[in-house]
Each structure stands twice: as C-alpha cells, then as structure tokens.
C-alpha cells in the first residue's frame, strides 16, 4: 500500500488498479465476514436452511452443519436438492400444506414436521419459516430455522403421563379415604351397638324384674284385700276377734307385708328411672347419628360431647371416670355428626390408653375441657393412661398406624379424626403426651366454620 501511494502512475490505469485493489481488499473482508457467519451458523445447534421458493419443488440453497448432522448428509449432497428429501411425508402432510399456503401469501409459518434421515429413520422437528427481507418483492428465498424436538416431545408426553397418573392416584386416594371413613364409621357403629345393647339390657333387666315383683305384689295385695273384706264381714257378724284376725295376720306374714310396704315404692321408682335411662340412651343415639349428611350448620359442641359420652359410656365406664369442664361456647358452624365421630374416637382412645395402663374406674380419669376465644373453640380430651412413646407421636395420625392388637380397631381412628378436623372443618388437632402419665388431644375449630381463617 505504501508503495502504491508513494509511486504516482498514469491516472486511468492508476484509478482502475486502485479500484481493483480496493475491491480485492473489500472481497477479502467480505470473505472473512462470510466465513465468520458460516462458522457461527455451523456452530449453532439450531437448524438453518435457506430455500429458493421461486419454483416448485423448492431448492435448498444453504444448510448449516446442524441440519446436515441431524439428517446424515453432507452439505454438497443437499444443496440444489428439494427439501422434500429431509421430510417424511407420512405424518407431515398437514404441515407441508401449511408451508405451501404461507409461501403463497409470503408469510411466516411455524410447524412441526417429521424429519427424515438418510437411513429413513425419523425424528420430530419444529420449524419456523420466514421470507428473507432482501428478496422482497417477488420473494424467492425463505429461511427455515428448526430444531430436533424429539426429546422435548418425549418430555412433554412424560409430563402429561405423570400428570394423569397423579390425578388417577389422587382419585384413588380419595376413594380409599371415603371407604376408610365409611369402614371406620361402621366399625365404631358396630362397637357402639354392642355397648349400647349392654347399656340398654341392664335397665331392661331391672325394669322387668321390678315389674314382675309389682305384678306379684299386686296379686298378693288383692288376696289380702279379699281377706280384709272377709274379716270385716266376720267382725260385723260379731265373730270373736282372735278367730277373725288370725287368718289375716298369717296372710300378712306370708306375703311379708312389711317388705312390700318398703319395696313397692322403690320398685316404681326403679322402673321409672330405668325407663328414663333407656329413653336417654335412645335420645343420645338419635342425636349422635345426626342424619344431616354433609351439611354444615351451627351446633352446640358441649352438648355434642355429652351425647357422645352417653352413647360411648360402655367404652369407658369400666376403666375411667369422666370429668367434664365445659366452658361457655358459642355455637360452631360444623357437621356435628362428623365431629361426634371425632370425639368418639378420641374418647375411645383415651379409654383404651387408661385401660392399658392398668387403671380401673376408680383411678382412671378422662378429662374433657372446652373453651372458646374470639374466633376459635378448643376441646381438650385428656387421659391419665399409658401415654404415647415419642417415636410414635408423629405417626399416630397416619392411616393404619396402630399399637393395638389385631381386632382392636383398624388404626383409622386418629387419621379420620384428623381428616375431619383439618380438611373438613379447617381446624387442627394438637397432641401432648408423656409416657406413663397420659395424653391430651386438643381439637381447635374455627367458630365460623370451614373457609374462615385457620386457627393459628
């Protein structure tokens, strides 16, 4: 260059030489630029291809290395050929039609195609085609930017499958949960039925015995009355008093009039009391069952606990005394039938824990304390039973977790209690336990019911 500038030459030739030199420099620069662009395109994993669409079939003008490698050709084998050789027609018809339409309207298009390799194996490819701005108007070239999307599609499919499986599993779980709830309900109903039979049989026994006694007493008194009548007649007939009185006195002694005088009122009293006891149990059963289905309505939980205690009496009366300390409670919006089941499960658990610790009706104790704050109520059911080992404490709400021997419950009681309190009522259950000292379960419920802010 220095030489050129230094030596002046003939003006025309000099100008030509100069422009040639400039051009050569420019060409070299362009070549470097092109090489850079090409190698950049070849370095990309994205497929680049330029098509001449001026006539059908289209012709490949440029492909980058990614296209060649994906399809198993060399650039020279592809350039000048129709792009159809890169596509499996089967499965791509719809996409090919879309491309043709787009090209007609000089528009861009994005499609998914089935790509085909040299060995005729196939893979999924996503392609975006755009007209090259330089060639507008009378477009002759399109650029195709594509990628092998086989793995992405597989991933999508896997994800979809996973989702479907999850949904199916959730449905199955829901079904099982429903069944378990039902089974647990049946179990508690079955256990209660036996207990209630016992509770009713006892008063029926003494009501029956008392009535039998009253019946025979009535017959005896009837005889005595007749004896009295006879005596009156005989006295009226002026028979000697001793003669008249002796059969009366012997009958009085035979039927034990003294005994009757004291026992008859007691028998009536017992009968009335027994009938009331049966009636109370039947009333409690009716309330306990509470046939309101899944409805949530306002209920007095102190009363619900009393009902549950009445129904479950046979479960605890031989191993513990129950002490209730009811606080003033507002009515709580809930499904009281379900909560009764929760209370029943907790009371039965407490009774079993007390029984297991070897306590009896004198030393065993179940304490039920209720209280209310502004927006929640708490029901604490405590016992002085065997307690729960700390390693079991976090498992007790798991379905099927039980430390009881086979046949003593399904291990569902606490899981179901938790599900009812937490999921159906937006509440929570706390547990505190010391081995050998006892356990307290505390149920917290929002007064306004499910959907109101959870008690913290």
């Amino acid at each position: 260059m220095n030489a050129i500038l230094a030596v002046p030459a003939a003006p025309a030739a000099e100008r030509l030489r100069l422009s040639l030199a400039t051009e050569r420099v420019e060409h070299a620069r362009l070549q470097i630029e092109l090489a850079l662009c090409t190698s950049a395109l070849d370095a990309a994993s994205t497929h680049f291809m330029i098509l001449d669409v001026s006539r059908s079939p289209y012709r490949i003008v440029y492909v980058n290395r990614a296209v060649c490698e994906s399809h198993g050709y060399s650039p020279t084998e592809l350039i000048g050929q129709s792009p159809e050789m890169l596509v499996c027609e089967e499965g791509s018809r719809e996409a090919l039609k879309q491309i043709e339409e787009a090209v007609c309207e000089v528009g861009a298009v994005s499609v998914e195609l089935v790509g085909q390799r040299r060995d005729r194996s196939t893979f999924a490819v996503g392609v975006k085609m755009m007209p090259l701005p330089a060639s507008v108007p009378g477009v002759t070239h399109y650029v195709c930017i594509g990628a092998d999307i086989t793995s992405r599609l597989a991933q999508d499919r896997a994800q979809r499958d996973l989702q479907e499986r999850l949904i199916a599993e959730m449905r199955e779980r829901e079904r099982m949960a429903t069944e378990l709830r039902l089974a647990q309900k049946l179990e508690s109903v079955g256990r209660l039925a036996a207990g209630i039979a016992h509770e009713i049989n006892t008063p029926i026994q003494y009501v029956g015995d008392s009535l039998s006694f009253l019946q025979s007493a009535a017959a005896d008194l009837q005889n005595l009355r007749e004896e009295y009548r006879r005596a009156i007649k005989r006295l009226a007939a002026r028979e000697p008093a001793e003669d008249v009185l002796s059969p009366v006195e012997s009958l009085e002694a035979a039927i034990d009039l003294e005994f009757m005088a004291t026992e008859i009122p007691k028998a009536f009293q017992r009968t009335l009391e027994g009938v009331e006891r049966v009636a109370a149990i039947v009333r409690a059963m009716k309330e306990f069952a509470h046939p309101h289905g899944t409805d949530h309505s306002c209920a007095d939980l102190n009363r619900a606990i009393e009902t549950t205690l009445a129904v479950a009496r046979n479960e605890y009366k031989y191993c513990a005394q129950v002490e209730t300390r009811f606080g003033a409670m507002p009515e709580v919006r809930c499904n009281v039938g379900e909560l009764n089941q929760v209370f029943l499960n907790l009371i039965v658990n407490a009774a079993h824990a007390v029984g297991e610790s070897g306590k009896d009706a004198c030393t065993g104790r179940i304490t039920i304390v209720t209280s209310a704050s502004t927006d929640t109520v708490s029901i604490a059911i405590g016992d002085n039973g065997c307690g729960i080992a700390s390693e079991n404490l976090e498992k007790i709400f798991d379905p099927f977790f039980t430390t009881k021997p086979v046949g003593r419950g399904t291990g569902q009681g606490l899981a179901i209690a938790r599900s009812i309190v937490v999921e159906k009522h937006g509440g929570r259950i706390d547990v505190e336990s010391t081995v050998g000292k006892g356990t307290t379960f505390t149920v917290h419920l929002p007064i306004a019911g499910r959907g109101s802010p959870r008690p913290s």
Partner: protein, 403 residues
C-alpha cells in the same frame, strides 16, 4: 336351704332381683353384693351353693371372679347373668361358668336355671353315688388329646393346620377319627381323606369331640362283661350321636349334642371295668323283674350308668351341658326346660336312634317312657315328631351309604 349369691355392679339390678326373688326366701337364702371383691369375701366367710354374677364390672370382672371361685370352691355352681352379647361365645368356649343367662332374661328363667344347676349338683353329690365312686379303684383319665385340642381352640389365632397337627401326631388316632368322620353321622357329600379337610369341614370342636371319643374307646381294657363289649357301646354311641347331630345341625349346641350322644353311656365303661359282677347282677335283675336296666342298676349300685358317666365327664371338665344331658338322659322329666338344649336333643335322639337297636347290654329294651310329641313341646324343640323322625332317618340313611 340353698344359699345363692348375686353379684352385679349396678345397684338397681340387685335391688330388683331381691324384690322379685323375695317370694323364694323360704327356698333360697339369698345375698346380694355389688363387687367381685365383696363376693369373694362372702365366699370366704361361708361358701355359697350358687353364685350368679354379671360379667363386666369395674375392678374384678365376672370372669376373674368365677375363675377364683372355680378354683377355691369347685362345688359352687357358677352362673353368668350378663347383658354383654359378645362374651357369650367366649364363655361357651372357656368353661368358667356352668350356665350363661343373658340380660334381659325371661321372668322365671333365672330361677329355672339355678334350680337345674342345683338338681345336677344334688344328683352328682348324692351320697350313694359318692360312695360308689369312692369304691372304684381308679377312674379313667381324660384323654390328653382333649386338652391339647382345647388349647388350640382357645387360641384366637389358631389355624386349621395346628389342630390337624395335634390329631395327626398319633397316626392311629387320626385314622380312627377319619373313620368316624366318614362312616358315622356327618352327611358329607364326599369322602374326607385327611384330618385337615375334616377340621375345615366340621370345625375345631367337632374334631376335638371325635378325637376324644376315639381315644377314650381305644383305651378300653379287658374283654366283654355281661355281654357288653366295646364294639356295641361304640356303635350305640355313634347311632345316638348321629341322631342328636341331625336334630341340632346348624345350631350352636350341635357340637355339645354330638359329644353327649357319643359319650352318654360312658358310665357302662366304668361299671364294666370296675365292677363287672355287679353289672351282671343288674342285667340279671332287669331280666327277672322286667324292669329297665338303669332302674336295676339303681337298685344294685345306688346309681345308674347315667349318673356315673356324668360324674366322670364332670371330673374331666367337659362342657356342663354335656355332663347335665348325660346325667339326666334316663330321667329327663326331672328337669324344667327354658329352651331346646343338649339334654332335650339327647333324649329325643336316643329315643329315635335306638328304636330298632338292641340296648348296650343284651336285655329286653324298654322304650323311653314319656318321650313323645308332648315332650317335644316341653323342651321347646324347634320341630314336631314327624320332622324329628325324618331328620334322624335322613342322617341314618346317608351314614349307611358310607359304611
């Protein structure tokens, strides 16, 4: 006067019983206490003839109380009066109580049951029977198989295989059990070829009963006495068991009824081995005077094979209902029935099964007197006379096919 102790934790139950049973104060001396501990205290002061207790009580429950009473005072009749239905099966299986009455009971049911228990108590404690038993050199032992199988039955988790193993441990016994199962009285549609099958078809208790009977008869020593031989005694037992089994099929008393049928003449086994001359004398006496053999036995021994057999079964600890049925099977009229039970089944089965059979010893057979349609009513049988005959004949016909 008999002394009866009532135990119940519910005060009103005791008071109502006391009021209702007051009429009986000339017959029974009754006391009422509200806990097991108090009951034991009273028993220590002076034992009662009968104890009637509730099952579920705080502190010592009825089962614990009766177990203690049974060990310390085995002579005391133990009765459960309970409203707890699920316990009934357990009580049947584990014989802590002689009788089970469920609350609420019928107006006179409890009195009847107590009377019946006292009657059996009296029959088995009759001085002449005691004297006879005292003279016997030795009483046969309860076959070990009974307690072995009883242990399996009591175990809630016992499997059929476990029961089968106990029986199969003695192959000769197992073979005899299978022979009984197939030849006798079970109307089985197919041949049972192993013990496990037999257990699953017939149940634990039936197999226990059959194995026990098989072992009892296999212990037979000595030959025949007064024409009484093992073969005959066993065949007669099986025929009666077939009949009682047919009459009670499908009811909770079926197993006990079967055992009562198999063993009701076990008293002869004792008499033939221990006092063969006296038994021969009784047979002769019955023939000479044209009286029933058991009546002749009463004259010779002061008791009959029925009471002696019942005494033996009682010592063995077999189910109370079986002991009672065997004790009264020749004099059923002395018992008042409140429901169809093992005794009723045995008496009717005996009358029907032995119609054309000879008696155990070859004497003229005297028909069981008074066993007729009115007896069926008196024992609350759930069938009439014709139905009973048909049931028993169906059982016999099918057992003959197997033989």
């Amino acid at each position: 006067m008999k002394r009866v102790l009532f135990v119940d934790d519910e005060q009103p139950v005791l008071e109502a019983l006391r009021a209702r049973l007051h009429r009986l104060h000339g017959k029974w001396n009754m006391d009422f206490v509200h806990s097991g501990a108090l009951a034991l205290e009273r028993m220590h002061e002076r034992p009662y003839d009968v104890i009637v207790t509730d099952m579920r009580m705080p502190g010592m429950d009825g089962a614990q109380l009766l177990e203690a009473v049974g060990q310390r005072w085995p002579e005391t009749v133990r009765i459960v009066l309970s409203g707890c239905a699920e316990l009934e099966q357990a009580v049947r299986l584990v014989p802590i109580a002689h009788q089970y009455v469920s609350k609420p009971c019928e107006p006179t049911q409890l009195e009847t049951v107590v009377d019946r228990c006292l009657l059996l108590h009296d029959v088995l404690n009759e001085p002449r029977l005691r004297a006879l038993v005292g003279r016997l050199r030795r009483l046969p032992m309860l076959p070990r198989i009974y307690s072995a199988l009883q242990a399996v039955i009591k175990d809630e988790n016992a499997t059929i295989a476990q029961a089968a193993d106990v029986v199969s441990a003695d192959p000769a016994l197992a073979a005899r059990v299978l022979q009984l199962v197939n030849s006798a009285f079970f109307r089985l549609a197919r041949r049972i070829s192993n013990i496990e099958q037999a257990v699953s078809y017939l149940g634990f208790q039936a197999i226990r009963n059959l194995a026990t009977t098989a072992e009892i008869f296999s212990q037979w020593r000595g030959g025949s006495c007064a024409g009484l031989d093992l073969e005959r005694l066993q065949r007669h037992g099986q025929a009666v068991a077939a009949a009682t089994g047919a009459l009670t099929a499908g009811t909770p008393i079926a197993d006990d009824a079967l055992l009562a049928g198999l063993l009701h003449d076990i008293g002869y086994w004792v008499l033939a081995q221990e006092c063969p001359q006296d038994l021969s004398a009784a047979v002769k006496l019955a023939a000479q005077e044209g009286i029933a053999l058991h009546a002749a036995e009463n004259r010779v021994f002061g008791a009959s094979h029925a009471e002696i057999g019942a005494y033996l079964l009682g010592i063995w600890g077999l189910p109370y209902a079986v002991v009672e049925a065997v004790a009264h099977h020749h004099q059923p009229q002395r018992v008042v029935h409140t429901e169809f039970d093992v005794l009723g089944a045995l008496v009717i089965g005996h009358a029907l099964a032995t119609g054309d059979e000879t008696t155990v010893v070859p004497t003229a057979r005297t028909p069981d007197p008074g066993i007729d349609a009115s007896y069926l009513l008196a024992v609350h049988a759930p069938f009439d006379w014709d139905q009973a005959v048909r049931r028993v004949e169906a059982g016999r016909a099918s057992s003959e096919v197997h033989v």
